[in-house]
Structure formats: structure tokens, C-alpha cells
Subunit: 220 residues, 2 copies
DNA sequence: CGCTCATTTGAAAGGCCTCAAAGCTGGTGG
DNA sequence: CCACCAGCTTTGAGGCCTTTCAAATGAGCG
């Protein structure tokens, strides 16, 4: 593993710190290689997951190949809790990642005795729903520049790197998350550089936020 | 109340029929006038709601007035269950509506004894999350025509009117839901009429789906 | 019946996409 | 250790879909 990845994964910001311990008993650890698929849309949903390190993307595909990445999940995030008996989206590792898999059936009985478990899952699901709401505003109503600014600030806060974002994903993933093309993503970043809002490092994989206040204004 | 509204609200399609009865004990009924605000983003979230009849929209606003309607809630749907102590979006009646308000604090203790209640809320939340995922694909990756087709088919299925959609909302709401402008919504509908996919009735408030198969293909 | 608001339609502009090619990066093998 | 290769990223030019601005038409209501 090269240095860049080590840096990217060194800060596991616990997204659900207060309630997550309720799940500490069960679950099995899984190591994922870059690009590995955890589950696909339509698969029987026997597990749900929590990210320990690395990044996982959840994806929806249209018949003609168009892709929408609904979220990037980082350390502490939960995903794979879907309605019904099968997954509604596909999950893949964006970079080498470690997750903990919880068997759904194990919790059916556990939840009846321990409401704390259920509340943990509820909190995680509500967190995902909240992010989805925010992302719908971005996709439906923001310009390319606003989307990019929102994305960078969001990622910076979630990775708890105050002024620096080590992007675990490539431009194509960013584009499919923000509802843009890779060219527009690249052009938008170039404009931000020109405006001295950001600076690229590590061959374009790391973005230094030079002016967070201005980015915040841009994020609309 | 005019006839159109009566028709629109006469079919309460139970979205969560199996589990909803668990909530039948509590809650107080509220009658909402058209446009009435149930709660606003940032308000303390003391209640969550279930639609009995009519339609409620949940909305997010940007500082400059741009609006994104994340969902239209019809009979049987639940909304207002947000992360944290305050609502993350605003809820307003699209048309005259009846909802049942459940006090959040009443359920904190109830859930510990009755896991069925918690499961009902979880199922409702997962349903909302699922819709959000589907809508993100629409907003991020579909064309105006595809968005409109998807919207009409979705509404038709949820209102359980096989081949007819009685729109409770006006063009402006549709536009803010689909990430378009009212002009584009209108033009897209006109194109669909020309292609004999739909037919307008009731002064543009009712849409007859003349060719659902073709619409399904268009929805992508 | 007239007023107001919603919807439709038109024309022009703009932002993002598509197509295309050059520039970089990182990994591999000589 | 360095050159080469494949894939990712950036940049350029042109086109298209949606938006913006504007005005006409239609519907609901006092």
C-alpha cells in the first residue's frame, strides 16, 4: 500500500459514536480490495455493514449504463439496510476497505429484547436519509460549481481533515455522484484553482481547501 | 371542496398496510388547508406524521429561494421522522389533507416494550430512503422526458389509479420535484400529448396515461 | 363578467455535455 | 534505474438540452 492510501484511511471519524457500541458484539470483519463488490442491486439482503476503514460507494445503474452514486461511505457509516428482502443498490469498495458485516437475521430476535440495537439502526438509517435529502437539493437545484463546493466541504468534514481532502475516488466517481461528467468536474476544479479556492497535490488526488469561507458561500 | 379534490383523495392506497396498525392506538388527527405548513426546517421535531388523505410535500430551500421538493406524501405515507431534535425539511399541504400526528416522546418508552412499533417506523423510514435513492437517479442522470415519465408512472402506481393520474399539485411543484423549470415541465407534457402518450383532462389537472408501456420505456 | 393566477408557447441565451486530443501518473518490464 | 504503456485527467471546440425572458392563452373565483 502506498503512502497516499495510508493517509487517506488514517482518520476514522466515527459518524455514529454514541450509539454504535450497541452493535459491538456481533458481526464479522471483511477486507475488501479496491473495486470489490460487496453486493449488487437485487441480491438477497442477508447482511448490512459498517465501514471500519476505507471508502465504499453505493450505486444505482440505469439499463443503458448511466450511473448514480448515491453516497460514499467512510469509517463509521452504515449501509446495506434496505427495504425488503433484497438490496436496492450495489455496494463496491472505492479503495481498499474494511467493513463489518452484520447478519440481518441475527438482529430480528435481538431487537425485540434490546431496543438500543434498533435505535442504533434507526439512527444510522435516519443519517442516510438526511444525507439523501441534502444530496437531492444538490442534484436538483445546484450548479456545477455549487455541487463541487458542497462535495468538497462535506467530504472534508466527514473525513475530519479540516483543510485538506484526500480523495479516495477518481473523477469518474465524483461525476457520477454529483450528476455531472468527468470533464465538467475537471473544469470546475480548474476554475477553483484559478480562483485560489483550492490547490491540488499528490497528483490531483489530494485537494487543499485554501478558502473555506468562499467555498461555503459557493456551496449555496 | 370541488369535485376534483374529492376524486383525488378517494383512494387511500395503504403504503404500509401490514405494519401500520401498530400505530393505531395513538396520534391525533389534524385537518390541513391547502398550503398549510405542518412544520418548518429547523423546528423542534416533536411529532411525526402519517397521511390519511390528501397530499403533503416535504421541501428544502436554498438561501436564494431555489426549492427542492424531496417527496410528495399520499395516504399511508409517513414523514417527519428526522435525525436529531429538529426537522431537516419543511412540510406543507399540497391540497387539503388529513394527517395523524404522533408525539415522538410517546414512542420512546413504547418502543422499548413493543418492537412492532419500532419496526413500523423503521419500515416507513426505509421506504422513504428507497424513494430517495430512486429520486437521486432521476435528478442526477435522467433527461426531462425521462423524469416526467418516471414521475407519472410512480404517481399512478402510488395513487392506485391504473391509467389516470389526478395531479394534486401544480406545475411549479412538479418542476421543483423533478429539478426542472415549469416551462420545461409544460413543454415535456406537450410533447407527450403530441406523441399520444398522455391526454390532459380537468383543465390540465388530470393526466390520462394512454400508453403505459411506451412511458415505461421512456422512464429509462 | 372581469380579474388574477396558472399554464402554455415562443425566441434567444447559457451551462453542461459530447467528441476529440494532449498531458500526466503510476505501474511494469527491460 | 529508466523508458514505455495503459489509464486517468485536463483542455479545447462545438452542439444541444434546458433555462431565461417574454407574452399569449386558459382556468378559477369573486
Amino acid at each position: 500500500m502506498q503512502t497516499a492510501t495510508a493517509i487517506r484511511t488514517r482518520l476514522p471519524a466515527a459518524a455514529i459514536p454514541a450509539t454504535a457500541p450497541a452493535l459491538s458484539q456481533g458481526g464479522t470483519r471483511r477486507i475488501l480490495a479496491k473495486g470489490a463488490e460487496l453486493f449488487a442491486e437485487g441480491d438477497a439482503s442477508t447482511f448490512f455493514f459498517r465501514v471500519v476503514s476505507g471508502t465504499v460507494r453505493t450505486v444505482k445503474l440505469l439499463a443503458d449504463g448511466r450511473r448514480q452514486i448515491d453516497a460514499f461511505h467512510v469509517a463509521g457509516d452504515m449501509f446495506g439496510l434496505d427495504r425488503g428482502a433484497s438490496y436496492r443498490l450495489t455496494a463496491e469498495a472505492v479503495e481498499p476497505a474494511t467493513v463489518i458485516a452484520y447478519r440481518r437475521s441475527d438482529f430480528a430476535s435481538l431487537m425485540q429484547r434490546d431496543s438500543a440495537v434498533m435505535e442504533t439502526l434507526m439512527a444510522a438509517t435516519l443519517a442516510n436519509l438526511d444525507r439523501a435529502h441534502e444530496h437531492m437539493v444538490l442534484l436538483g437545484r445546484k450548479t456545477a460549481m455549487e455541487r463541487m463546493a458542497s462535495f468538497l466541504l462535506d467530504l472534508a468534514s466527514r473525513l475530519s481533515c479540516p483543510d485538506q481532502v484526500c480523495l479516495p475516488m477518481q473523477r469518474h466517481d465524483i461525476a457520477d455522484h454529483l450528476g455531472l461528467t468527468i470533464e465538467t468536474v475537471s473544469r470546475t476544479l480548474s476554475q477553483m484553482i484559478q480562483a485560489k479556492l483550492i490547490r491540488l497535490a499528490d497528483g490531483g488526488r489530494t485537494i487543499c481547501l485554501l478558502n473555506k469561507d468562499a467555498l461555503q458561500l459557493l456551496a449555496a
